[in-house]
Amino acid sequence: MSVFRTLSTKPWVADRGYISDSHGFSSPTAKVFLSIFLGVITAVFALLTAAYFIRMAYADWQSIPVPALLWLNTAILILSSVALQWARTSARREQAVGVRRGLLVGGAFAFAFLVGQFLVWRQLGSLGYFVDTNPSNSFFYLITGLHGLHLLGGLVAWFRASLRLWRGADVAKIRMSVDLCAVYWHFLLLVWLVMFGLLLVT
């Protein structure tokens, strides 16, 4: 409702001038930045989903088999997210050991997930399901590829935060980076669950 209140103020009434004590949202700027970026990524995957459904309606669509390995990968990604959440909580409590372990385990699982996804690609390829075999295959490779790229981008941020920590930076100083990494990981997990669900249902 505060949006409507804001939008209905009459700025020209001089003697009702307000002055704001805070600048913008109460959450840190980097977090607002990340949230809006997550909105942009949501748009990408929402559009892909829409295109998926539209293309599915055409006669040549044949569903792609879902390799069992994808279940394992999903579990690994969940663990990765959990580990980063652990790092995040530890950072809040200023426990350096927890942050280190959480980051390390989270990053390792994320790498494992990417390797796992690559193995899924190899598996499907060896079974003859190439990117151009059927539109469902094309979408599968596109969605997993784009999701993997986003995770890879997250790993760059993860690497920078880890590097600072190992070089002896104060936990308080990298708390924000750890926080943002964890939020980003949870978001990508959510995206993956939705995309995986889409593949399973169709």
């Binding site: 001089a14 805070s22 700027t29 748009a43 539209i54 596109l142």
Partner: protein
Amino acid sequence: MALTDVTHDAQDFVPPAEVAEEELYHPKTWLGKYVFSQDAKIIALQYSITAMGVGLLALVLSVLMRVQLAWPGAVSFITPDAYIQFVTMHGMIMVIYLLTALFLGGFGNYLIPLMVGARDMVFPYVNMISYWIYLLAVLILLASFFTPGGPTGSGWTLYPPQAILPGTPGSGWGITLMCISLGIFVVGFTMGGLNYVVTVLQARARGMTLMRMPLTVWAIFTATILALLAFPALLVSAIMMSLDNLLGTSYFMPAIISLGQQLDHSGGSPVLFQHLFWFFGHPEVYIVALPAFGIVSELLSVHARKNIFGYRLMVWAIVVIGGLSFVVWAHHMYVSGMNPYFGFFFATTTLIIAVPTAIKVYNWVLTLWRGNIRLTVPMLFAIGFVFTFINGGLTGIFLGNVIVDVPLSDTYFVVAHFHMVMAVSPILAVFGAVYHWYPKITGRMLNDGMGKFHFWVTFVGLYCIYYPMHYLGIMGVPRRYFANEGSNGLPDWIPESAQMVNVGITIAAILVASTQLVFLYNLYHSATRGKPSGGNPWGATTLEWQTADTPPTHGNFGKELPSVYRWAYDYSVPGAEEDFIPQNVPASKKTGQAT
């Protein structure tokens, strides 16, 4: 957000902004200061110069197209293939690499931090990267001119299947580089765009509430949100198109026989591409129109010495137009064979968008009403914008209706419409903005005589170019055609009178295009030899005119950030000593307000 009511004695109540200088990166080398700069103002200039450079190329391409249409065959290197390549590159460059980059990357970067009272964008490093990625996208686009087969000739809409079939010029390297360039552009823009939005949300000066922001900021802010949500559609379609092109997938490519050969593609949907493309493409119209709206509101108010009429409605209209722009895209696809009910829906939403737009036009006119109008060059361009936007908007009401659109589709009527509404109008706003803010950027005024000459030739010339195109369109002259002549070299299936009109349009186009050289010379000449402008030559209220230095230094506002006590449009306030009260002036006797 905690709000404290400020009473009349605001100047006693509010302590001076105790904001220490933020942690800005201060470069020590020339390279760091002017090339790899993290100062939004330098980045803005880099964006603007790159955009205008590539825009000049697109202007030359359009002149070449016009020469071919007026005097078919007169220039030997304009072959049918080259012609359609010029059409494509002209459109793509103008819409994306010029207008989007100039309004958001150029004006957004320069004006947002200054107008909201911030020291810089919130993430200057990301902001810098944004420009270099944009430059890379431009270079890749230009590289396609030098590849075998040349740039793509599929029209700026890049419709498959023809965009990637061998019959289309540039079907190999051309379309590949185009898709890569667009993808990179989207990535670079996203970095900048996130900065613009977050800066507006988070870095406003003390007292700068959302409803005290100048309309320019509101407009660029909203346009950036549109771009952030719409460009993913372009990214997704560019990727899928590339996969169809390079890996042989069939997202968009149907089963097709090309040059006697059955291609590997099957079952893809070209209409799916159209949906994705226009889901980006229509908001794109407002991505360039909204900043123009905002800038024009600013110029009209400043140069008519009058507060903007209906500020709240202006803000609401910007937001409503932004929202509606996402539900009108299929009006570009009436001839794609869509369900009539679908067309009815999109015709309705399209016509509804005329309501907030008309509100804006009325408010501009009412702002001028009984104002102390000063016909400065920026004001002339702003009024020119309002005229032209009304003209272009009215033909939009024609084309928004399915039954009128179908016969007019793919004729010069459409060309006339979209040039009036989203090419000429925004460019007039760009010119107005350049004349208006140039004194702040350089500390010198642009030459007035050259400016007025530039305005009148451009304004009248544009009408000579685009008005007759409506008649050509109604006659049924199709767009994108290389020539309208028969085997004898004379126009044989459009009347000779239509060909006469084509010649007239081309002469006007050459005149208008060459007049832009005067503008460029003015920019160059006045930078060193123009009349010194002082800090606030127009007597404007917004914060960018209240900086300690002109041009503003890195950090914008010196030691203390300004506090904002009023909205951006306190012009000709009764009882005030001057006819404007800057936003950072508290209520007092000087401002004519009771204390």
